[in-house]
């Protein structure tokens, strides 16, 4: 594939998983020249050395401000670099900010050639946050389960209850106090820690 058909893309992201998901998507779509930078030290030097056509950076990355410098210090860059977003791109910038990613392109690269890259980037970033949310939910559900089990154990020991009775007691207390069962379990753990 010639350079004309496959622009050189740099992904600046400290999350290796998200970067891998994006990189894979770009490769599948035929963009072969993809480089991932995860190390933020001497970021600009690496970017200048790679000389990319497109730079994608996640919005959680404080080094985004470092990239902004490239538009001011033209002496150090071989080609002027401009933001992808211009006045007419309100929808694109909105979608990319919502997804948590920002794109920069080298001036002169045609907009219609960038559109599919950015669209892909947005959808992969959204997919990643969905995965992340699910993972967080699963983790906290697991965590809550552990807390409930430990609280059950304490009630069984202290009050001489069976496992079922201990659970029913926590559940009815939760309903009465309009709290989650996990919160009741946590208070039992806290109280028992204090009373030790």
């Amino acid at each position: 594939m010639s350079a004309e058909s496959s622009p050189k893309i740099v992904i600046v992201d400290e999350s290796p998983i998200r970067a891998a998901i994006l990189e894979e998507g770009l490769r599948e779509a035929g963009f072969t020249g993809v480089v991932h930078i995860s190390e933020m030290q001497s970021l600009l030097a690496r970017i200048y050395a790679l000389d990319p056509d497109v730079i994608l950076i996640d919005l959680e990355n404080p080094s985004r401000d470092v990239l902004e410098q490239m538009f001011q210090v033209s002496r150090a860059v071989r080609r002027p670099i401009a933001m992808f977003v211009d006045q007419s791109d309100a929808a694109s910038i909105q979608a990319s900010v919502d997804a948590g990613v920002s794109a920069y392109i080298v001036d002169g690269l045609k907009k219609e050639r960038i559109k599919p890259i950015l669209d892909l980037c947005i959808s992969r970033f959204n997919a990643f946050s969905k995965l992340q949310d699910e993972l967080d939910r699963t983790k906290s559900a697991l965590e809550e389960r552990k807390v409930i089990d430990r609280a059950k154990g304490i009630l069984m020991k202290v009050k001489g209850l069976t496992e079922d009775e201990a659970y029913v007691l926590m559940r009815s207390t939760a309903m009465r106090e309009k709290k989650k069962i996990g919160e009741i379990a946590q208070s039992i753990l806290t109280a028992s820690e204090l009373l030790k």
Binding site: R64, V66, E68, R75, M83, A90, I93, V97
Partner: protein, 277 residues
């Protein structure tokens, strides 16, 4: 009826008026339900204000001007009706650059002109010896920090574009970068200069207020179109910020204000905790 507002900020001491306005209930008393959103870069604050995800923002004063003029980015007219801070920046240098400047100084080290002239001599010596140009960290292309560094060194005859390197660094990375030699000096706001001094990796060469008096640092920024549509909400927000600023200004409230600012956990990428460990 309360008005919900989303306000973006960068965790710096000069966001205090906004943080205290929310924490002490000055905003709520004005009928504002403010959600403060912590950001990691000025680019994010600017973009989210521009596209309307934020109603208002804690913003570098020069970014408000650049955004209104369309410099370096999309043109979005910004109104900055309230100053969140005057001055507050300092120039901190590494121990070795400090020693070099002190070795060349003629006159008083608290005189910025004397240090600027000494810096010019240090730069000339380094060039003669074939050393790498000195690197100065600052926070954003459109920042007071950038302009203040330039103003100071240019006064001594150092060309900021030719004789040294000026690089953008996110404030939480400043101290780390000074410690590991990535930069020889930086200009940044509180608390990062004090952090460098506490850790023994830097000397505060000048408070920028010694170089330029009453420089507008951060502003409360809103979009012009938003301000045209919501003049009363904006007035309420200004009143809340103003009450918060008056509260902070009372010496007896300083400790409480500091506690309020210290409340939120550091941003995920903060290197501060790692340094302190």
């Amino acid at each position: 009826m309360t008005t919900p507002l989303h306000i973006g900020f960068i965790p710096l001491v000069d966001a205090a008026a906004l943080i205290v306005a929310v924490d002490k209930g000055f905003a709520a008393a004005e009928g504002l339900d403010v959600t403060l959103v912590r950001e990691v870069s000025w680019s994010n604050v600017r973009d989210k204000l521009n596209i309307g995800l934020f109603d208002a923002a804690h913003l570098l004063a020069p970014v408000a001007i650049a955004s209104s003029l369309g410099l370096g980015h999309v043109k979005v007219p910004i109104v900055a009706p309230f100053n969140l801070g005057l001055n507050g920046n300092a120039i901190t240098v590494s121990p070795s650059l400090h020693a070099a400047i002190m070795g060349e100084i003629e006159g008083d080290a608290i005189d910025p002109m004397a240090t600027a002239l000494a810096l010019a001599r240090v730069v000339a010596i380094r060039r003669k010896n074939g050393a790498e140009p000195l690197t100065f960290g600052m926070t954003f292309p459109f920042s007071t920090h950038n302009y203040q560094l330039r103003f100071w060194m240019a006064a001594g005859g150092v060309d900021p574009d030719e004789d040294v390197r000026l690089v953008v660094l996110p404030p939480p990375y400043m101290v780390d970068s000074l410690a590991n030699g990535q930069v020889d000096a930086f200009c940044v706001g509180a608390p990062w200069n004090s952090v460098a001094v506490d850790l023994g990796v830097g000397y505060i060469l000048h408070f920028v207020s010694d170089i330029l008096v009453r420089a507008a640092e951060k502003v409360l920024a809103v979009r012009q179109d938003w301000s045209d549509k919501n003049p009363e909400v904006l007035a309420a927000l200004i009143r809340a910020a103003s009450r918060a600023a008056q509260f902070i200004e009372q010496p007896e409230n300083r400790i409480e204000a500091a506690r309020i600012l210290a409340k939120p956990e550091p941003p995920p990428n903060s290197r501060l905790l790692r340094l302190r460990e």
